[in-house]
Structure formats: C-alpha cells, structure tokens
C-alpha cells in the first residue's frame, strides 16, 4: 500500500505541529508565564538534536560491531546500524529513550549556564545575550564536525526501521503527538499550581514578589532549566523523526523567532493560546509550501517570500487589534473555591460528581 499526498500532508502537519507544541509550551512557560525573553530558544533545541546526532548512532555502531569513522563513513555505518536495528528493536527503543533523557539533561545543564546572565540582566540585554549564546551553539555545531557532521550533517539511526516503509512516518508522528500531549499536560499542571501563580507574580512585579519573601532568581533559573529540558527533548525527537541532522538547520528563525510568533498570535500565558497559535502558524506555512507553485502566477514576486509576508501580516494585525493574542491570559485557579468563575471544567464536574455521591 502507499499513502496518498493528503495523508502525507496531514501526517507531516501533525508531526511538525507536535514538535512546535513542545517547544512553544516551554517558551510560553519562560516568556508568557515567567517573563523571561528567551531569544535563545534554538539553543536547547539544537543541543537536543546534536545529542541525538552524536550519541545513539555511536552506541548502536559499537553494539553491532560496526567499525569505521562515525562521521566520515556515516552513511555506510548508519545503513549497517539500521539493518542491525531491524532485529534489535528492544535495544533500539531503550537507547532512544535514554537519548531523550541525555538530551533533556544536557539541555538543562546548558540552560543553567545560560541562566547565569539571566540572574543579572533584564529585558533587552538578557534577550540579546541569549540570542548570541544560541548563535554560538550553531557555529560550534557547524565547525566541530564530531558532533553532527559539521557542514555535511549526519544520518541518525532509526528505531522504527522495522516498520513497513509507509507506516514509519505515521507511527513516528504518533510518538511525537504523545510527547506533545505529555508536555502540554505537564505545563498545564505547573501553571495550575502555586508555582504557576508565583511565576506570574514574579513576572508582573519583581520587587513586590521579593518583598513577600519569594526567591525571584531561583524561580527564574529553575524555569529556564525545565524549559530547556523540554526543548532539548523536542530537538532530539525532531532529529530522530527527520532521520538526519545538520547544524545549519538549527537557526534562530525556525526555532526562536517562529516560536515567539506562534505564542504571540495565540496569546501569551495561555496554554490554549499555544495550541491555537501554533496551529494557525503551522497550517498557513504548510499550505503555502504545498500550494506555492499554483500561487506563483497570481503574485508579482517570488512565492518563496509568501510565508514571510503572510505570517508577518498576521502578526502585525494581531498585535494591532488584539495585542494580548487570540486567547488572553486567564486566572489559573489551583483548588476549587466556591463561586470561582474560572474553575476548570473538570474540577466543576468532579465537584458535581462528589456532591451526587456524598450528598
């Protein structure tokens, strides 16, 4: 059997949507809720992808007893590894999940390192510093070939190689959707807790938070750390999904500016806004890519600029007419309080059920 273009379109859309949901959720945690302008978002994503590029392939190669220079003979080694993985799916998955863990851990550590200036800098200065650090990561990736093959990139082992070719991407996409769902639920739970309230308070008024005994620095550092770990997992999963990694791909436009745009469109400090904003962005972008050629005759410029133009216009319209984004920030009730309008639906249902059971 073979998948039609509509199915491929849909699968691809869902995959990239899921990846961006993880990254945007982490960015929303940092920027929307905690007020940290992380213009170095790509840093953690790239580090995650580099970990996936550098570590599991080498592990599999040594387990399978395949000799050779990992970078120079990369294509030959990877086809050997993938052939070996067909019969070793258990090990394949184990190493895959271990890699995600390592990606999260290394991204988190690098997150703490970048948080060092975050303690001392505010606003624009912090944003510029993080932007520069992230650029540094990409330049290291390009020039230090041992990590991700430098300018040529590397192939990644494929833990799903045993699947029929047509099912590989749909199944991998299901994995991405599952991870995005976990990220969303985790973030939503954080936000609906005293911690979420603390982050919003620190963002709104640092002086007041400190006067109430809140350790503002600590809250910031931990937020950067957790968000970096999430983005690192997203980066690693994206690298596995794509099947190859190249340092050039981890640029500030795709993994910093677009995520900012998506959460600005959807609405800062609102997880549902992340879902909506990311969907609009990914859909518009995908449609443009898909139908670019049929649009060419109607526009007086090269269609490659169409997505920049269109998305730019959407952002400006949103900022002009609805600066808080499509969905605005809401109160995040932590526990049920009588008469609270913002009590989430599931808590209300639970309370109704409780009343029915206990009278």
């Amino acid at each position: 059997m073979s998948l039609g273009p509509e199915v491929t379109f849909f699968v691809d859309l869902l995959a990239i949507y899921s990846i961006y949901i993880i990254i945007n959720t982490s960015l929303n945690l940092e920027f929307g809720y905690a007020g940290i302008p992380n213009f170095g978002k790509v840093l953690a994503v790239g580090v995650g992808a580099f970990v996936a590029a550098a570590i599991p392939g080498r592990i599999f190669a040594s387990m399978a007893g395949i000799e050779g220079d990992y970078i120079a003979d990369n294509i030959a080694i990877m086809s050997g590894v993938n052939a070996w993985l067909v019969d070793n799916t258990g090990i394949g998955f184990t190493v895959f999940f271990v890699t995600l863990g390592i990606a999260a851990a290394i991204s988190a550590v690098i997150g703490i390192a970048t948080a060092y200036p975050a303690i001392r800098l505010r606003g624009d200065y912090l944003a510029i510093t993080l932007l520069a650090l992230a650029e540094g990561m990409r330049i290291i990736g390009i020039n230090y070939a041992d990590i991700a093959g430098g300018t040529l990139g590397v192939q990644l082992p494929d833990p799903l190689v045993w699947l029929p070719a047509d099912l590989r991407f749909p199944i991998a996409t299901l994995g991405l959707v599952a991870m995005a769902t976990i990220a969303m639920i985790y973030s939503d739970r954080l936000i609906r807790s005293p911690l979420g309230r603390l982050l919003r308070a620190v963002r709104d008024n640092e002086v007041s938070a400190e006067s109430l005994g809140k350790d503002v620095t600590r809250a910031r550092v931990k937020t950067i750390m957790v968000a970096a770990a999430m983005a690192g997992i997203a980066g690693a999963m994206y690298a596995f999904y794509a099947g190859s990694t190249i340092a050039f791909a981890y640029d500030r436009i795709n993994w910093t500016f677009w995520p900012f745009m998506m959460i600005l469109i959807g609405g800062l400090a609102n997880n549902r806004g992340v879902l909506v904003g990311t969907f609009i962005f990914v859909l518009v972008r995908k449609l443009i890519t898909f139908y670019k050629d049929s649009v060419q005759e109607f526009v007086p410029f090269d269609v490659v600029w169409l997505d920049y133009l269109l998305l730019g216009v959407i952002l400006i319209v949103i900022l002009l007419y609805r600066p808080q984004g499509i969905l605005k920030e809401r109160a995040t009730p932590t526990i049920h309080i009588e008469g609270h309008h913002d009590t989430p639906v599931y808590v209300r249902l639970k309370n109704i059920a409780r009343r029915l059971v206990y009278g």
Partner: protein, 251 residues
C-alpha cells in the same frame, strides 16, 4: 527588650544626606507612627529597614539579628513585611491570587511538586483560608475574583494591606496604608491594625499623613524632618510639640 532598634542609620543619595543619623527603638505589639513633611526621609527609612535599600552607615537590629545589610528576601524570612506607598500589585493576578502569593512558603511552589496536585493541596487549602481572612480584615474580600489591575486606587491600597497581613509577619512597615481610602474604611483598617497589635503582638511602623484619622490609633509617634527624628512621644505630646507644628503643620 525592643524588637527593632536603629542606631545612627544614615543614607546618602548622591551627596544629599537623606537619613542623617536615625535612632529609633520599637517595642513589640505596639503601633508606631512615622510622620513628617514630604521629602523628610520616611519612605527611605522604611526602604533601608526592609532591605530594599542599603544603609550607608549605622546599625539596625531586629529581634536579636543584625539586619543592616540584609535584603528584603531575608528580612521577610525573619518576619518583617512591608507595604509600598504606590501599591505594588501583580496586575494580571486576581485579588485572591495576589494575596495567596503573600501567604508565605507553599510546598506547591517547587518544580518538583507543582505538577502533583496531591502534594500541595493541603498547603494550598490553608493558604486560601489565610488569604481570605486577610482580605476580609482588609475589607476587600468581595473583590477576590477581580483582576487586580481593575481595582480603584483605594481598593489597591486595601489589597496592599491584605498582602502585608497575609504573611506571618511579626513587624509590619506600612507606607501610607489609608491614602485614598474613605474615612469609614480607613477607621476600620486602623481598628484592625490596633487589634492585631493587641491580640497577636504584631508591631506596626506606619507612615501616615492623614493624622485626623490615624493619630488616635498610635501608641507612639516619631516625627521626622530633613532626615532626622525631630521629636518623638505619645500622640498628645507630638501635637503639642512646637518643632513638629513648625515643620509639619506649617504654623
């Protein structure tokens, strides 16, 4: 033994001496007033005590601790809370959420536990009770669901008071707590303050200009002018004091 003691506290802003050798001694469970004309250094003194500003000289001790060089975070942990002349609210949070942030340590504020509702819901339930109690005492409980940037000036002041009393502070430094609040509410705020001082042994150091309302609730008054304490005593003594009248009441 006094709970808060200052000796020769100085603060200089770019050559201008704003606090010029302040000596003060406060006993626990009493309501102190700090009065004086605009620019006499009252707010600066509160900033220096709480740790929002660093002192340039002198020594401040609180409950046996030298707090001269401590920041706000540390003085708060020792049991000192403060309010701001211009209310410092978390504008995107509701009135209740604002007060909940002020209820002190909450186990749900750690990343390790936040995602697990069961580990903190007990703490949170207690915090809600404390916060609502503070809001009730500050006469603003009926606004608990409202986002705090929708409050009027007076209501913002009431919320600022609620935030200060929601913590477990032993001493409260308040910067014009009743400015912009109608006289009836202002009296009830000061009655609440006096009750807290009498029954819970909380000490208050309050900057206030509306002496017609507040002076009746003060146990003791410090009058400042140009960075110095120019007079101190009971409210009656202060009203009769000629220096205070000259500098403050403008006679």
């Amino acid at each position: 033994m006094p709970i808060l003691e200052m000796t020769n506290v100085r603060k200089i802003f770019g050559g201008q001496t704003v606090l010029d050798g302040i000596d003060m001694s406060l006993d626990a469970g009493r309501v102190y007033h700090l009065i004086g004309p605009n620019g006499s250094g009252k707010t600066t003194l509160i900033n220096v005590i709480s740790g929002a500003l660093e002192a340039d000289g002198g020594r401040i001790t609180y409950d046996g601790h030298d707090i001269t060089d401590m920041r706000m975070l540390q003085t708060y942990k020792l049991g000192m809370a403060r309010t701001f002349q211009i209310p410092q609210l978390f504008e995107n949070l509701t009135v209740l959420e604002n007060t909940l942030v002020a209820t002190g340590e909450n186990s749900g504020e750690s990343y390790r536990r936040a995602a697990f509702h069961n580990t903190w819901k007990g703490d949170e339930g207690r915090a809600v009770n404390i916060a609502q109690d503070a809001l009730a005492k500050s006469k603003i409980l009926d606004k608990q669901q409202i986002q705090s940037d929708e409050l009027s000036g007076g209501q913002s002041k009431l919320l600022e008071v609620a935030k200060a009393i929601a913590g477990d502070a032993r001493i409260l430094l308040m910067d014009e707590p009743i400015a912009g609040i109608n006289p009836k509410l202002a009296h009830s705020i000061f009655e609440m303050i006096r009750t807290m001082a009498r029954t819970s042994n909380v000490t208050f150091l309050i900057i206030e200009h509306r002496l017609d309302i507040s002076l009746g609730y003060a146990d003791y008054v410090f009058a400042m002018d140009r960075g110095k304490i120019v007079a101190s005593g009971t409210p009656d003594e202060i009203i009769a004091d000629k220096r205070v009248a000259e500098s403050y009441l403008g006679k």
